[in-house]
């Protein structure tokens, strides 16, 4: 298919026939094919496998697994903590990006580099760092080990870079003239931020928030050492998944995984809707 397209492409260009949307050039057809195969192998097929495996339980079995009190508590905790952390990141991440782009201070480039560390660190190392900083032998005198605050802290730690890194480049590309124009037309600083800057940042913030949430609900390594995995208190969904796998109950593990998938999808969808609505209002 692709080779035929390549051979006919010059002719098509010479006659200047307007292309219909469905016909692709050989190059982009090939690119699309390769991308879809890669994407399928890497994402679609494994995700489908999870859903099929979960389907093995049947609706009743599925419901029984996810409503079992210990599992339900873990799911609730994971989603709520991830939402809270994402909300925090939206505010703090945007502020951090703002400071990094708009302000000048000593050590700025160092901060700029260090921000990625929580993300780059192997999660179990992050867990060790958190345990030594906020555990019983904390040099800061802060001991939150084995509490829900530990879960929150670990999630906040590993998801910190997402919003910063998505907002930063957008903020950098924003022309100062626009703000100046807004100011010259009588907009106050706050109005200029709300009406001019924020709308252009919102897609980036939403993308960062989605990444941050998705990472939050899937986190395991960084929080297991500090959270203590106490059932119904600090046990997160990924520990439940591991428990089911350890006991050879792959269907139940898949059921919990499927719920997490759905929640992630839902949150990404909601963020998309919010982003569109807010961006439109800014126009």
């Amino acid at each position: 298919m692709a080779s035929v397209d390549i051979a006919t492409a010059p002719d098509a260009a010479r006659t200047r026939r307007p292309r219909t949307r469905r016909s692709l050039t050989g190059g982009s057809g090939l690119a699309l094919g390769v991308t879809m195969i890669w994407f399928s192998l890497l994402v679609l097929i494994p995700l489908t496998a999870v859903l099929i495996s979960a389907a093995g339980l049947g609706l009743g079995g599925f419901w029984e697994v996810v409503t079992q009190p210990q599992t339900a508590a873990a799911l609730r905790l994971t989603v709520v903590e991830s939402l809270m952390v994402t909300a925090l990141n939206v505010v703090m991440g945007t502020a951090l990006a703002w400071v990094l782009v708009r302000d000048r201070f000593w050590g700025k480039s160092l901060v700029d580099i260090v921000i990625d560390v929580p993300f780059a660190l192997p999660t179990i190392v992050a867990g060790l760092v958190l345990l030594s900083l906020y555990g019983p032998s904390s040099p800061l005198g802060v001991n939150v080990a084995n509490t829900r605050i530990a879960v929150f802290l670990a999630l906040a730690f590993v998801t910190l870079p997402f919003v910063v890194r998505t907002v930063q480049p957008v903020l950098e590309s924003l022309e100062l003239d626009v703000e100046e124009a807004a100011a010259s037309l009588g907009a106050g600083r706050f109005a200029a931020f709300r009406r001019v800057i924020l709308p252009s940042l919102i897609p980036a913030i939403a993308a960062g928030a989605a990444l941050s949430f998705a990472r939050g609900i899937s986190e395991y390594g960084s929080l297991v050492l500090l959270s203590g995995n106490l059932p119904a208190q600090t046990e997160v969904a990924s520990v439940r998944v591991l428990t089911f796998i350890e006991n050879g109950n792959r269907e139940a593990a898949s059921a919990v995984a499927a719920i997490m998938l759905l929640v992630a999808l839902l949150v990404i969808l909601v963020l998309d809707v919010i982003q569109r609505r807010l961006a439109r209002r800014g126009d």
């Binding site: 495996s53 080990a145 899937s218 919990v256």
Partner: protein, 343 residues
């Protein structure tokens, strides 16, 4: 992690693929290398990584082992069993507890008669020990001390770590050994779980958490306590008067060659057991006498407890115990753990 199972599947597949790739590459190479080198792949649970170093070296010095090359893989026992099922090449598997071996016999990867030898398939053994802070400030001596108010316990999560089941069963079994009923044992375990400060994911995580300052007591295997102390950990441990014998099974896989069998024999020999004893495992052979660095008394490292419970004699064997105590819905321990969160 929500994508844990596909990730693990992929990881296992990648691991398997790389093992196949390397073995496919190395076979012709070793063929042209002159001597008939035999390859043995050991798949073992985490703590063996250190312990097996000496064993492999000593085996290669013996006649049976001089032409044998090893590839070794270590990790959590349950993960290792699953990896072998997913295609990880294994000639000898050495796991933390029997239910993981049963996963392999179910898949016909290990012959059903793996327990027929004189050791009943057990390669290394240890006992459940109580690790306390240096100087034992809470004065922990017996199991009853663990359920006193204010004592905080760290023990690995029996859900995510199969090997943690030994610890919980020891806590349960010692009540029975002391003449208590099942109801008494459940009552004890309920209080015990009420005192749990953390359920880390694995034995290794539990030790890290304890060393990080959480808890007054860590339930651990004697050999892990000894090995951690030999490596510089600053804590004390004690063997309670009633404790459970930990038995780690090992077997060759169905398609393993003679070299793997020879290695298994070496592990069970006096020399092999001596090497394991140096790392804190209790030798089968009482005549093995070695200095064990890290033990309370290095010269007499393995004091005999008053009552040594075994899974077969006192808890009905793993087949029964796994269902009775750890069944996902109706297991006694599963239910008590789920209830412990709702206080």
């Amino acid at each position: 992690m929500s994508h844990k199972s596909p990730v693990r599947l992929l990881a296992a597949a990648a691991l398997a693929a790389s093992v196949f790739a390397t073995s496919a590459c190395s076979d012709p190479a070793s063929g042209t290398g002159g001597g008939d080198k035999q390859q043995v792949s050991i798949v073992g649970f985490s703590i063996l990584k250190t312990a097996n170093k000496q064993l492999v070296a000593d085996f290669q010095k013996s006649d049976a082992g001089k032409d044998v090359e090893f590839s070794e893989s270590y990790g959590p026992s349950g993960d290792q069993a699953r990896a072998v099922i997913a295609g990880l090449k294994a000639d000898e598997v050495h796991l933390s507890l029997e239910p993981d071996m049963t996963k392999l016999t179910d898949e016909k990867l290990v012959a059903d008669d793996w327990k027929s030898g004189p050791n009943k398939g057990i390669v290394t053994q240890s006992v459940v020990s109580i690790v306390v802070r240096k100087g034992n400030p809470k004065n922990i001596k017996v199991w009853a001390d663990l359920i006193k108010p204010g004592v905080r316990i760290v023990t690995p999560n029996p859900g995510s770590s199969g090997s943690a089941k030994w610890n919980i069963l020891a806590a349960y079994g010692q009540v029975i050994a002391g003449g208590g009923s099942d109801a008494d044992a459940q009552d004890y375990l309920k209080k015990f779980l009420g005192n749990v400060a953390a359920f880390p994911g694995s034995a290794k995580d539990a030790t890290t958490t304890f060393e990080g300052g959480t808890g007054d007591v860590l339930l651990s295997y004697e050999n892990e306590a000894i090995q951690a102390r030999a490596a510089g950990a600053d804590f004390d441990y004690l063997i309670p008067d009633q404790t459970l014998l930990i038995q780690n099974p090992g077997a060759v896989t169905t398609d393993a060659g003679d070299a793997a069998k020879a290695f298994l024999d070496f592990q069970l020999s006096k020399e092999g057991q001596t090497d394991y004893a140096k790392q804190g495992f209790r030798p089968f052979d009482d005549s093995v006498k070695v200095d064990v660095p890290g033990a309370n008394d290095p010269a007499d490292a393995f004091p005999t407890p008053e009552t040594l419970l075994t899974i077969d004699k006192d808890l009905g064997g793993w087949g029964e115990a796994n269902t009775k105590y750890f069944d996902e819905k109706d297991g006694i321990v599963t239910k008590l753990i789920a209830a412990s969160g709702k206080s």
